[in-house]
C-alpha cells in the first residue's frame, strides 16, 4: 500500500496512475493511503499549507469500484467539499442514450456536497465510468482564508440541524461542470499550481454559497423531492448540458426523458435548480460561448460553434444574459 502525505514537503502536487492492487483508499487526518485498480487517469493531491487540501481524481474505466474513506474523527474541525461528475464512456452523440441506461441503483451520481468531517465520509466511485471529482478538505478555521463569515454563517447551522446530520448535497450544475473541466485540463501543467488551485477553490466556494442560499430557501418551503424525482431531474439536466450545441429540445422530449408531465417537470426543475428549463439551457450555452470568446475565437465563429444560425441572434442572447454584447466583452474600453 502506497501513501502520500498531505503535509509532505514535496512540491505540492503528485500525479500517479492508479495501478496498485489493494481495495481502498483511506484518508486520515494528514495522510492519504491510496491504492486502486487498473485504469487510466490520475489522482492528484494538493496540500496547501493554509489548511486546505485538494484531492483531484480524474480516472476512467477502472476495473473495480474505487473507494475513499475519510475516517470519522470527533475532534476534526474541517469540512469536506466535493464535486463529483460521473459520466458513462461513449461517443458524444451516444452519451445520452448510454447515460439514460444508468438507474437510480447506481451507487453514485454526479453531485456537489458539503460534509462535516467529524462524522467521516465514504466515497465510492463505480467501475467502468469516467470519473472526475474534486475533493477539498478545508479546516473550519481556515475557511476564513476564503471567506470571512462562512463558518459563522448558515452552513454550520444547517449541517447541525436535525434533518441532515453531517452532510448536505446538491445537484451538480453546469457551472461546476465547467469549473471541473478547466481544473482538470490545466492542473497538471499549470506553472503556478498553488495559485491556480486556490483560485479555483475560491470560485467553488462562491458557487457553493450562491447555490446554498437558493437551496436553503427551498428547504424553508418544506418541499422535498423524492429521490426518484431527483434522478429524473438530473437526467434532464445532463441532457441540457450535453446537447448545448443543438436546439433547445422542447418540453415534450424533456418530459419523456424525465418521465414526468410537462407541468410538473417545469415546476420541479425550477425548484431543484433555481432556473427554468430554457434559462438553464441558455445560461450553459452562453457560458460555453464566453469560454470560446476568452480563447479569442471570433464572434461569428462562436455563434456557429454553439449552434446559432445567425450571429445577431447570438449577440442579442448574449447581451440579454450578461448586459453587454460579445463585442463589448472583447473590447472593454
Amino acid at each position: 500500500m502506497g501513501y502520500v502525505s498531505l503535509e509532505n514537503s514535496e512540491p505540492f502536487l503528485k500525479c500517479f496512475e492508479v495501478i496498485a492492487e489493494d481495495k481502498s483508499c483511506i484518508v486520515t487526518d494528514s495522510v492519504l493511503y491510496f491504492s486502486g485498480k487498473t485504469g487510466k487517469g490520475f489522482i492528484t493531491v494538493a496540500g496547501v499549507s493554509t489548511g486546505i487540501e485538494v484531492l483531484a481524481v480524474n480516472v476512467s474505466m477502472l476495473t473495480d469500484d474505487l473507494t475513499f474513506s475519510f475516517l470519522p474523527s470527533p475532534d476534526a474541525s474541517s469540512y469536506i467539499l466535493s464535486i463529483e461528475e460521473i459520466g458513462i464512456p461513449g461517443k458524444p452523440e451516444n452519451e445520452l442514450s448510454l447515460s439514460l441506461a444508468s438507474t437510480p441503483t447506481d451507487k453514485a451520481h454526479s453531485s456537489v456536497s458539503i460534509t462535516d468531517a467529524e462524522y467521516g465520509k465514504l466515497i465510492t466511485y463505480p467501475k467502468e465510468r469516467i470519473i472526475r471529482s474534486l475533493i477539498v478538505r478545508v479546516q473550519k478555521s481556515s475557511l476564513g482564508h476564503l471567506i470571512h463569515d462562512f463558518d459563522a454563517g448558515a452552513i454550520a447551522t444547517i449541517l447541525q440541524s436535525a434533518n441532515r446530520v453531517s452532510s448536505i448535497s446538491w445537484p451538480i450544475t453546469f457551472k461546476y461542470r465547467l469549473l471541473i473541466n478547466d481544473f482538470m485540463a490545466e492542473i497538471v501543467q499549470h506553472p503556478f499550481r498553488e495559485l491556480f488551485t486556490i483560485r479555483n477553490i475560491s470560485i467553488l466556494v462562491e458557487y457553493l454559497l450562491q447555490q446554498f442560499f437558493v437551496m436553503d430557501k427551498l428547504a424553508g418551503e418544506g418541499n422535498y423531492l423524492s429521490s426518484q424525482d431527483t434522478v429524473n431531474l438530473s437526467k434532464v439536466e445532463q441532457h441540457l448540458c450535453v446537447h448545448y450545441k443543438k436546439e433547445f429540445p422542447g418540453i415534450e422530449k424533456l418530459s419523456r426523458i424525465s418521465a414526468m408531465s410537462p407541468t410538473s417537470l417545469k415546476t420541479k426543475f425550477k425548484k431543484y435548480y433555481g432556473e427554468t428549463l430554457f434559462g438553464y439551457y441558455q445560461k450553459n450555452k452562453l457560458e460555453h460561448a464566453r469560454k470560446l470568446l476568452d480563447n479569442k475565437v471570433p464572434v461569428k465563429v462562436v455563434a456557429t460553434e454553439i449552434g446559432y444560425s445567425n450571429p445577431s441572434h447570438f449577440t442579442l442572447a448574449f447581451k440579454k444574459e450578461y448586459g453587454f454584447s460579445p463585442w463589448h466583452y472583447l473590447n472593454p474600453h
Binding site: D149, F192, E194, F196, E206, L209, L330, P332, H333
Partner: protein, 307 residues
C-alpha cells in the same frame, strides 16, 4: 492627491473614488478612478518584502516615472500590469486630460511564502524583478481588461461581491505571473506594436492632427486619404497607444485648445466653437461638458470670477 489643476480644481471630479478591501484570501486590493485635467500622483509605498501588483487602464496620455527626483517618465499604454517590490516608488503623470482607473493588489510576504515561494517559475520572476530594477510589466489581454472593468464596477457590498472581486483578482494575478514580462521601458504600446511602419504611421498621423485639427474641413476621412490606411487599423493603433478612438482623440485635442482660448478671454464661446472646427455650438458644448463635466459658459464665468 491633487487631481485637478486650477481653475478646474475647485470643481469636484465626479468620477473619482478610492476603495480598499482586504480580501479573505489574504490580499489587499485598492482601486480607484480618477478623472483629471492633469495628473501627478505617487502610488502608495508598502513594506520592502511585499509585492505590489498594479493594473492601470486609462483614456489619454500617461507617463510612468520612477526614481527620485522623478523625471517625466516613460510614456505608457492603456491596459498595463506592473509588478514591483513594495518599496518601489513610482508616479503616474499626465499633462493632458485623462480618465484613469487603477487597481493595486498588495501581496504580503507571508502570502508569497504560502503560495509562491517554492515555485521554480516564481523564482524566475523574482530574478527578473531584481535585474529590471524592481519593476516588471505586462500587457493585459481582452479577457483581463474585462475582468479589470468588472472589478472596477463591483461594489464591495456583502460577501458575494467580495468573493467575486477576490476571484477576479486572483485570475489577474495568475495571468500576470504566467504572461510574458517586459521591463518598464517597454510599457509604451509602441513596444507592443513591433512594426516600424506602424510606429511611424502613428507619429505621422499625430503630427497631421496637431497641424490641422482646427480646420473645419478636417475629417478622419482626410487622414485616411492622406495616409492610405484603413479606419479600423488607425483606430486599433490609437486605442493601443491612447486608449481611445481616433475621433475621441481629435475631440480631446479640440476641446483642450478651446479651454485655453476661453482662458485667454478674448473671444466669445460661439466664436471659439467655430474656430476650433465645430459647425454647431451645441455640439461643441456637449463635447466640452463630456470631458470637463461643466459647460464652457459656466467655465468662462468661473474664470472671470477668479480673474
Amino acid at each position: 492627491m491633487k487631481p485637478l489643476t486650477t481653475p478646474l480644481s475647485n470643481q469636484k471630479a465626479a468620477a473619482s473614488y478610492r476603495l480598499s478591501e482586504r480580501l479573505p484570501v489574504g490580499l489587499t486590493i485598492h482601486r480607484w478612478k480618477e478623472s483629471a485635467d492633469q495628473l501627478n500622483i505617487s502610488l502608495p509605498v508598502f513594506d520592502e518584502q511585499d509585492l505590489v501588483l498594479t493594473f492601470i487602464n486609462y483614456k489619454g496620455d500617461l507617463h510612468i516615472a520612477t526614481g527620485n527626483p522623478p523625471d517625466n517618465g516613460q510614456p505608457a499604454s492603456p491596459g498595463l500590469g506592473l509588478l514591483s517590490t513594495g518599496n518601489k516608488e513610482f508616479q503616474l503623470k499626465s499633462f493632458s486630460p485623462i480618465h484613469l482607473s487603477v487597481i493595486v493588489l498588495l501581496i504580503p510576504r507571508d502570502w508569497i511564502g504560502l503560495f509562491l515561494k517554492d515555485n521554480p517559475n516564481f523564482s524566475k520572476i523574482e530574478q527578473a524583478l531584481e535585474t529590471e530594477s524592481n519593476i516588471i510589466t505586462c500587457r493585459l489581454g481582452r479577457r483581463q481588461l474585462s475582468l479589470f472593468s468588472s472589478i472596477m464596477n463591483l461594489e464591495a457590498k456583502g460577501r458575494d461581491n467580495l468573493l467575486e472581486i477576490q476571484n477576479h483578482a486572483l485570475s489577474l494575478l495568475e495571468f500576470f505571473l504566467c504572461s510574458r514580462h517586459r521591463n518598464l521601458s517597454a510599457v509604451h504600446a509602441a513596444a507592443g506594436i513591433d512594426n516600424e511602419d506602424d510606429l511611424s504611421l502613428i507619429k505621422e498621423v499625430e503630427s497631421y492632427i496637431s497641424e490641422y485639427y482646427c480646420s473645419d474641413t478636417f475629417t478622419v476621412d482626410s487622414i485616411l486619404k492622406k495616409t492610405y490606411t484603413s479606419y479600423h487599423k488607425l483606430n486599433f493603433l490609437f486605442k493601443s497607444t491612447h486608449g481611445m478612438t481616433i475621433s475621441e482623440y481629435i475631440r480631446n485635442k479640440r476641446i483642450e485648445k478651446s479651454k485655453e482660448m476661453i482662458a485667454d478671454n478674448a473671444k466669445s464661446i460661439s466664436q471659439i466653437a467655430y474656430e476650433i472646427g465645430y459647425s454647431s455650438i451645441s455640439n461643441y458644448i456637449l463635447a466640452f461638458k463630456k470631458i470637463y463635466q461643466i459647460t464652457p459658459g459656466k467655465y468662462k464665468k468661473q474664470m472671470d470670477s477668479l480673474a
